[in-house]
């Protein structure tokens, strides 16, 4: 069983070096009937980056996540992860390859404990089979013990150590979001996709989350982030892509994006001091 809680070994998880391209989205489109949720978007994510996708509501950010992780197939284009085309792969296989995600509206396993939730992440990393389990063979026993220890470690890293036996449904929102992250980390991902991880949080919780993401980056994990809070995005991102109506309208470092007039317009519409709307 792979032993890293988050794939860290300083220079970006094993195979590649920090700075290599880990994920390529090539001209990806996703249509729902006549609705072009995503239309020909391309970008590259480098290993060890905190890469943010932003845009107004309905821009297609969550759809992008769903396509990249294999929940929806792409209507056009390719997603290449560590050199491998993900076309046609079911979502669990994508996760097995090293891509984990969290959901904007938290999807936890409510009637299981926090620890059990986290241990689900280890499912694809353990090899014990049905017979190993039934006969309680050493392999099953040891792997389970190891998975349990690693899960507890992970929970402590995200600050949920005290809550390990608590029923997940009884956690408040901030902790639920953290549990989602812990659970995703349990799959030993090389890239972590976080869908609005600070949604609904107060400033101090947001700061905690930002600190967590920063620590993950230091450990060598690549983070792909969808976010709404500008403060969070500008504070933590290495690179930003801006979507609007399913298309990429800008890309660059935080400072560049902040100053980009097209981006401002997409978010705020045309301001009063600009030309009046004529069309």
């Amino acid at each position: 069983m792979q032993t890293n809680g988050n794939g860290s070994n300083g220079n970006g998880n094993g195979n590649g070096k920090r700075g290599d391209v880990i994920l390529e989205v090539q001209n990806v489109s996703r249509f729902f009937g006549a609705l072009k949720a995503i239309n020909g978007v391309s970008f590259e994510v480098k290993r060890g980056q905190v890469f943010s996708i932003i845009g107004p509501n309905g821009a297609g950010k969550t759809t992008m996540f769903n396509v990249v992780t294999g929940i929806y197939p792409a209507s056009g284009g390719d997603v290449i992860f560590e050199g491998r085309n993900l076309k046609g792969l079911p979502a669990h296989k994508v996760t097995e390859l090293g891509m984990a995600r969290t959901y904007q509206i938290v999807r936890l396993f409510d009637n299981m404990s926090v620890l059990e939730n986290t241990m689900v992440g280890f499912y694809c990393r353990i090899k014990a089979g049905v017979w190993d389990i039934i006969l309680n063979l050493p392999r099953a026993k040891n792997e389970r013990k190891l998975a349990r220890e690693k899960s507890i470690e992970l929970l402590e890293r995200v600050g949920l150590g005290d809550y390990k036996d608590v029923l997940a449904s009884s956690l408040p929102l901030g902790l639920r979001k953290r549990l989602q992250v812990a659970r995703a980390l349990a799959t030993n991902p090389k890239i972590l996709l976080l869908d609005e991880p600070t949604g609904g949080m107060n400033p101090s919780e947001k700061a905690d989350m930002m600190y967590l993401i920063d620590r993950l980056r230091n450990d060598g994990l690549t983070v792909l982030l969808v976010e709404h809070d500008m403060g969070v995005i500008m504070g933590i991102s290495d690179w930003i892509v801006v979507l609007d109506y399913g298309e990429k309208i800008a890309e660059g470092k935080p400072a560049e994006i902040q100053a980009n007039p097209r981006v401002i317009e997409a978010y705020l519409g045309r301001g009063l001091e600009n030309e009046p709307v004529t069309d």
């Binding site: 984990a100 992440g121 499912y123 809550y163 799959t187």
Partner: protein, 354 residues
């Protein structure tokens, strides 16, 4: 500061016992011992026969629990697998076709056959939502019954009689007590096996699927194959129970495998406490043994009515069953005291759209 009451002290004592590596086995061992001693204290053959029947159905409740309790897949045609097992032994171990195979060979074969049938039915059924799946299982259950009722292979409605009893080589079982001990042993083995599965990565993944299938899939759980596995394993005890049933009754006919039987087994799991082998066994034994004293009285004809009432009341007031999966030592936030145990509720409807 309030001193904890008797109940809390008892709970703490039990928790400490269960936490000890050897102590964990004390309570179950005592329970098994008591169960094994039952025939020496209860001399009535009638009651042992009742217990035999109860144990056979409890086998099935344990099996259905895998599918319904752990994985959350509702099966309303579970009696079909029971029928498959029963008819296998009726055909392969009786004068009907003058075939007399070895009992235990058929026992395991029937389990396998039932499992395969469930697996094949699940393949198309997987994409369906909960209530559609339930309907397909009803259809399958009914179809098996109709087939049994009409095929000459199964001697249609007349059934097959003079079925061989259970045997160990040359030794044949000929008392209800013989069956009791064997059935008890089977139940204990099954409980151990299922408990191990429950606490393993597979059980964990099953429960994740039950809670939120899409999230489970995102976490690397191969939901499709795990659901198939769940259906396969769930049906095996039913096939085996069918063989036992045929042997103890020495007669099988389609009337034993109706929709009402399927519902009853579902009730055992739900009322007893799902995803908890102990609760399920409790449910099974209760639902089979409790109606016995009422047999012959007015209440007997009202049995199904009471059943229905029980189901409705349980669903409204205690949907998690009498003895659901416990989380020992769980602290619940916002108000409850440390150490207070809470029980897992069945999942709420809805779930979020992605």
């Amino acid at each position: 500061m309030k001193t904890p009451g008797i109940r809390a002290k008892l709970q703490q004592g039990i928790d400490r016992l269960n936490a000890h590596p050897v102590g964990r086995y004390v309570i179950p061992a005592v329970a098994v011992l008591i169960a094994a001693l039952v025939p020496t204290f209860i001399q009535s053959n009638y009651w042992i026969r009742v217990l035999d029947s109860a144990l056979i159905y409890t086998m099935m409740a344990l099996g259905l629990n895998v599918m319904l309790g752990y994985t959350g897949l509702l099966n309303l045609g579970y009696a079909a697998y029971f029928a498959i097992g029963a008819y296998m032994w009726a055909i392969l171990g009786s004068p009907q076709y003058d075939i007399h195979w070895n009992f235990w060979v058929v026992f395991f074969l029937a389990g396998l056959a039932a499992g395969v049938a469930a697996y094949l039915l699940a393949i198309p059924g997987l994409g369906l939502k909960g209530d559609y799946l339930a309907l397909v299982t009803i259809g399958f259950g009914e179809s098996i019954r109709i087939l049994a009722n009409n095929m000459s292979l199964t001697n249609s409605a007349m059934g097959i009689t003079q079925i061989d009893p259970m045997s160990f080589g040359p030794l044949k079982a000929n008392t209800v007590q013989d069956y009791y001990y064997v059935l008890l042993a089977i139940i204990v083995i099954m409980m151990i096996v299922f408990k191990r599965m429950e606490n393993s990565r597979i059980g964990n993944a099953w429960m994740a699927i039950r809670e939120d299938e899409m999230a489970a899939e995102s976490m690397g759980v191969d939901t499709r194959n795990l659901k198939l596995l769940s259906c396969f394993i769930a049906a095996i005890p039913a096939g085996m129970a069918g063989v036992m049933f045929a042997a103890t009754q020495t007669y099988v006919s389609p009337v034993s495998f109706t929709f009402n039987e399927s519902i009853m087994i579902v009730a055992m799991v739900i009322v007893g406490g799902r995803a908890n082998v102990f609760g399920v066994v409790l449910g099974g034994m209760l639902l089979m043994v409790l109606p016995e004293p009422l047999r012959g009285s007015f209440f007997d004809s009202a049995r199904i009515l009471i059943y229905g009432l029980l189901l409705v009341l349980m669903m409204i007031f205690r949907p998690q069953g009498f003895w659901p999966r416990q989380y020992r030592g769980v602290k619940k936030l916002n108000g409850k005291k440390v150490g207070e145990t809470i029980e897992a509720e069945p999942a709420a409807a809805g779930g979020v759209q992605s």
